[in-house]
């Protein structure tokens, strides 16, 4: 028990730490391994759990524990349990969805919504004078981003990462077929919540419509920030709270009518006000958020569902009801039609996309001045620049 306490106090005072190893010189090799692993996770708070087990049976290797954020950033010191370990989305199911999306989207060539979002995101690269030689593209619509880069941002090396192997494979095959080989592309299968990228190694991270499926969004963003070089850029587009509100309403009504209760059909999505907080919490400097709403028209509700399937955006909540009654589905389509149809018979669906921008801190960024470093008092400024009333 005493050992636990000394470990805890060491970890809370220093972030990087191999010092723990030195403190226990006479330990068996296994124990030392465990402590080194503990020190790495010390930032995250798996410490207490891991030190109890003495076998090498890596309990550290728990897929359900995300490289989460609590206590980590800002040197919180206290290893408190935080609800960032809550699992909302079923990540394995999302992999399967994305596999299916890879097969479906290879048949259907035009996906204008996804292309529009990727284009908008990449346009922001034109606004920066900086070039980004190494770039990482995280899940979502990796194919669209790769296709639409067109030399923006001066990207020379591109790393494509996605949780689904099929998606990456189809990107690579599409790439082999294309003539544009000016960008050196590498492919990788990985999870956004456990980013396998070394610290300070990429200049740019782009994620187009991928991060809204992570269980621990702040954690992912913190890992992205760490992977960025100083003065590196993080660009992300996620779906916002207003997305598919028509579908949400129609589903709820249909379910209430037919089944007498509702089960979650749409994932919880971020609000615009949260996006700013997320960026600051992850530690990005010069954060920027803006919102765009896209209204896509479909011939029928079933077309909408097909489109969602092709994008890999179907329901991935852990709490979902795995059974969908045919009656309920038809009722949803009917309600959608009757409530939201436009004059020409098509139905609209809203997609609210939140674009987030953040930079890894660098000495060239504007900083707030230190407290007490003011050289002019406000009262003098007030007098000089014409105050009508003395306050």
């Amino acid at each position: 028990m005493k050992e636990d306490q000394t470990e805890k106090s060491t970890v809370s005072s220093s972030n990087q730490t191999q010092t723990l190893v030195r403190r226990f010189p006479g330990e068996a090799k296994n124990q030392r391994e465990m402590r080194r692993i503990n020190s790495i996770y010390g930032r995250i708070g798996l410490l207490r759990r891991v030190s109890e087990k003495s076998t090498k049976q890596s309990h550290t290797f728990l897929a359900s524990h995300s490289f989460s954020t609590h206590g980590g950033y800002g040197g919180d010191g206290e290893l408190q349990q935080n609800n960032s370990k809550v699992k909302i989305f079923d990540r394995d199911l999302k992999r399967i969805h994305r596999d299916r999306a890879a097969w479906l989207s290879s048949r259907q060539k035009n996906n204008s919504f996804v292309d529009a979002v990727a284009d908008n995101l990449l346009d922001r690269l034109e606004d920066c004078k900086k070039t980004f030689p190494t770039a990482l593209c995280l899940g979502g619509s990796v194919g669209a981003v790769k296709r639409l880069i067109r030399g923006r941002g001066g990207i020379e090396k591109l790393i494509m990462m996605d949780t689904s192997y099929d998606m990456i494979k189809s990107c690579r095959d599409a790439d082999e077929g294309s003539l544009d080989n000016s960008i050196e592309t590498s492919y990788l299968v990985g999870d956004e919540e456990f980013l396998p990228i070394k610290e300070s190694s990429v200049d740019l991270i782009i994620s187009s419509l991928g991060l809204h499926w992570t269980n621990d969004l702040p954690g992912s963003m913190i890992q992205c920030k760490l992977a960025l070089k100083p003065d590196g850029l993080f660009l992300a587009a996620i779906l916002g709270g207003e997305t598919l509100k028509e579908l949400r309403i129609a589903c709820t009504l249909a379910h209430m009518e037919r089944e007498g209760g509702i089960s979650p059909r749409l994932s919880p999505l971020a609000q615009v006000r949260d996006a700013g907080n997320l960026l600051t919490r992850a530690g990005f400097s010069l954060p920027g958020v803006d919102v765009d709403e896209y209204v896509v028209k479909y011939k029928s509700a079933l077309d909408l569902i097909e489109h969602l399937r092709a994008m890999g955006e179907t329901n991935g909540l852990l709490e979902r009801n795995k059974i969908l009654n045919r009656e309920t589905a038809l009722a949803t389509a009917a309600i959608y039609d009757s409530m939201f149809a436009t004059e020409d018979g098509t139905i609209p669906a809203t997609f609210q996309v939140i674009y987030m921008t953040g930079w890894r801190e660098h000495s060239s960024h504007q900083q707030a001045k230190r407290r007490g470093s003011a050289t002019v008092s406000f009262r003098d400024l007030h007098k000089k620049f014409g105050g009508q009333s003395e306050s």
């Binding site: 290797f61 080989n181 990788l188 299968v189 396998p196």
Partner: protein
């Protein structure tokens, strides 16, 4: 020329892309990975897990990793 070399690499399947080898680390412990020729996988020594490489593409999703028990001791010795 680039495409030809990429084609050759794809067939070989067991050489990891240079860019990736500089950048990749273990997703769980963030420590460097070692490429094991025998099993054509990336091994993370600190936690004793090996990640497979399918067709030249490393799969670094934690779920895909295999825990190495006695093997790692033998290969380190």
């Amino acid at each position: 020329m680039v495409r030809l070399s990429r084609f050759l690499l794809k067939d070989a399947g067991n050489v990891i892309d240079k860019t990736l080898s500089e950048i990749l680390v273990c997703p769980l412990s963030k420590q460097p990975l070692r490429f094991c020729e025998k099993t054509k996988s990336l091994v993370s020594d600190t936690i004793g897990v090996s990640f497979p490489m399918k067709d030249g593409i490393p799969c670094l999703v934690p779920k895909d990793g295999k825990i190495l028990e006695e093997e790692s001791e033998a290969s380190k010795a």
